[in-house]
Subunit: 297 residues, 2 copies
Amino acid sequence: MKIAIIGGGSVGLLCAYYLSLDHDVTVVTRRQEQAAAIQSEGIRLYKGGEEFSADCSADTRINSDFDLLVVTVKQHQLQSVFPSLERIRKTNILFLQNGMGHIHNLKDWHVGHSIYVGIVEHGAVRKSDTAVDHTGLGAIKWSAFDAESDRLNILFQHNHSDFPICYETDWYRLLTGKLIVNACINPLTALLQVKNGDLLTTPAYLAFMKLVFQEACRILRLENEEEAWERVQAVCRLTKENRSSMLVDVIEGRQTEADAIIGYLLKEASLHGIDAVHLAFLYGSIKALERNTNKVF
Amino acid sequence: MKIAIIGGGSVGLLCAYYLSLDHDVTVVTRRQEQAAAIQSEGIRLYKGGEEFSADCSADTRINSDFDLLVVTVKQHQLQSVFPSLERIRKTNILFLQNGMGHIHNLKDWHVGHSIYVGIVEHGAVRKSDTAVDHTGLGAIKWSAFDAESDRLNILFQHNHSDFPICYETDWYRLLTGKLIVNACINPLTALLQVKNGDLLTTPAYLAFMKLVFQEACRILRLENEEEAWERVQAVCRLTKENRSSMLVDVIEGRQTEADAIIGYLLKEASLHGIDAVHLAFLYGSIKALERNTNKVF
């Protein structure tokens, strides 16, 4: 099966390594330099102190040869990928972005491709243009967004036990389930500059997170609030020593995923006339922090 | 009358200029360099495009010669001033700090001085070690904290029309009236990096500020909430183009007055078992911003 991975970040390299064990994989990168390195060296994966490697093709362009494209670039980089995807023949495309900002784009994107969306629950850190550290074993969960699900089910048979690929029936439930966790944990840890576990151990922070949670729940119309709140707290506990991706982005002066995570919620709140006072404040503060870190202010 | 102004910042230089028109004023500075400059050049004041000057003494030590000391250093610098004040003979001391963090200190400070507290409603920007720009005409309002008020009333007769000094009967009412305004405007503008007026024009920010206001009101046991909320909004309107002092401190990488303003409220909340979820979050976020700006994190 011919698969293209769009994006050579941590998730892109992780997917490329594991999928190349069963499929013919090409990594499509923005930089020629990275494509050349992957083409000549393949991809290395570190896991539990061991090193593994896999051969991979690489390119800087997307062509029409693939049975499946896996889009792993961040949500704010999607706009530069869409035009290329509109030029190729109809195929299967799986979007693996954090947050749900891309959902508003995909709803308006009528191109005839079979579209799937998914979430990544692995921990992965890119070490170089060709190497990735698989720091946390998890899963990829996917669902049909605008497609027949059985087509991709066939593609994803026989995958590696450290890289399970799980089908879920309801894309909205799948994505909102992760979004509510990210919306609660990421902006707060980024603004307070604390580890995930500190949101549980400082009572005022936990109470503030609950206010954010309630706002996000109303916007997403989640069915089982109590279960979702338990899950938010469970993730804080399980990742208590971790710095959230948004905190790391802020520290390293990178653009955060505030638009993908909070931006989506604010847009939905505005569409349905729902109050989002805490989320609007968090969004404004994270955006100010991005400007400040980048010395534009 | 012999008056010492402790601190050569914007408020110190402003007080020194105006009080020296009627009194024998000495500015006490931390740096020898600034004391020498004031001693030789006097103080220049800019106002409405004009320049004024006044002769002033200066020193780096506080001695026992003064009828009144006006302490103008910031609240977080007070700890280095207290020991000197404990060594001199009993006199009148007026504390002009922002916020109320120093109130907890003063309550435990039993030294026999006649203690007064006040607020500064002037706009002033220090231009150099000896020059200050009087950017906004206002008033100094003061009240007896642990003293007979009539003693200072006599000292403050005959002052300049651009520098009114007004007596208020209730120090708690005076200080909390300013604190509630600072607590609402300063942390929010610093985190969102917006001008004061933007807190009114963005509905979600106004609603968030209201939540902060309600928390602070409960902690301070303010009598007339509605009037106080009107005043907060009036200050936002009147200073709509201004950047709050906390925002400027954050931008310039200085320590903010978060302890003096929010720290006092959190301590009071904790003493009386009152929830302060929003204030605790704002405090944590401002402190993180201070660390971040100072590159300690």
